[in-house]
Symmetry: C2
Subunit: 288 residues, 2 copies
Amino acid sequence: MRGGPSRGSAMIAIFQGRQRVDSIAGNDRGLAYGDGLFETLRAHRGTLPWWPAHWARLTRGAQRLRLPLPDPIQVRDEALALLDGGDGVIKLLLSRGSGGRGYAPPVDATPTWVLSRHPLPPPVPAAGLALRWCTTTLAIQPALAGLKHCNRLEQVLARGEWDDPLALDRDADEGLMRSGEGDVVCATSANLFANVGGRWRTPAVDRCGVAGVCRDWVLAALDADVGRLAVVEIESATAVFLCNAVRGILPVARLGTRHWSMDPEVVALQRRLATAHPAFVSAAPLFT
Amino acid sequence: MRGGPSRGSAMIAIFQGRQRVDSIAGNDRGLAYGDGLFETLRAHRGTLPWWPAHWARLTRGAQRLRLPLPDPIQVRDEALALLDGGDGVIKLLLSRGSGGRGYAPPVDATPTWVLSRHPLPPPVPAAGLALRWCTTTLAIQPALAGLKHCNRLEQVLARGEWDDPLALDRDADEGLMRSGEGDVVCATSANLFANVGGRWRTPAVDRCGVAGVCRDWVLAALDADVGRLAVVEIESATAVFLCNAVRGILPVARLGTRHWSMDPEVVALQRRLATAHPAFVSAAPLFT
């Protein structure tokens, strides 16, 4: 990595339009307003197996926010250069770039984009995740729902809840979030599936939540219904799992005081994912 | 200004904790998640007359978000140095600072803060502002309501509505925003007061919207009710004005096809503000 602005992050590259630059401008609109989008990609031996799905989602988000997109070939090539044949996680952040004071988006914006490489996430616990309920809710905002945009204070507050020294269930792996209307939506950084009355179901993300890349893969792999999910339905589910593009399928063993044993369908799904995306091989247990 | 990262902004100074730095780190949480707050202050002849109110609001926001605060004396001194005896606008942005990948707020965060100096805003139109309705709504989120935080995609989308070449009323000065439940809340960058049935009223900001510094001044100066305001109430109001800490009191002359003549109470309020905060003298017309 070239010297300078990488404080705290091992490997990072910053661009304005096509040009590599040393740093983020102090008037960047990503910093000022969270005026941007991001993608977090699991890498495998120097490749990004879900690159097309991530780029497609970024493109949809950029259309909704009218953000300028950088050249996809350049972005992918720079990501692969940063990866240098290795494993890990690549984060791509796209901001509208520099702008004056004021909310009006500049008409001739040059996007700022940041690639960073991060270590592999912790392995998926063999026994499954322990979850808790978050009290921070997700606001209903159809104009932003589904997008992986950079307005993430709700997730920051929710994730901070169980770092509080006075919090209950501080050893939880993840927290479930409800919408402002009380429906179950997602975990702080993963989507959610639950088997309710013999059918797999996942919350719709048209009013809040993120349309996850791994969620899309699961929806194509599993015969699941998309709709509203109530708290009581999660608590009466026969199996629950989370998923995201960095950690794959994450079986849930506990939510508060409710326990689940490992579900054969979830194990089978982990195996299918390991076939589709080789980085997730290690997450698939050998037993059924 | 010291060289480097000031692309697009005339005067800017960046700090990490107490230390001046050259640039924003690529892994800054303000950039990643809008994990920060900001204040925009009107300056007058090298002074910041509403500094105590702005710092008090920043402090309240930092408590709610558990953001570390920099030293207030240092921040004010650096802002005054940037101002160098002049007029204009000072923006202070406070971010949680550098952080790894993931929403969990670092426990030992060193805040990043950015001061920038901007030109004076355009003068308040003598005839009053022309407003339009925005279609982008404000989500109901009590956990963030009132704060001047950096999750501002709603305002960016709303302000972008009338830059669209196909938009109606492209010459509007500002746009009014409603909550997701249909109540009138604010303009994209100002608070709102309306005289409805002989009483001044302003929307509550406990479910969405920003608790503006100038709004607080107006609430102390005017016998106004705080509560929910319906669209029909604004349209039947006998007078409407906007306010913010940068432009002061902004009389409204038109909203869509509804017109208002200049209201003597609003003119009197502009004069009171000019006495309280000398930067706003020029905004007070000489007639009544």
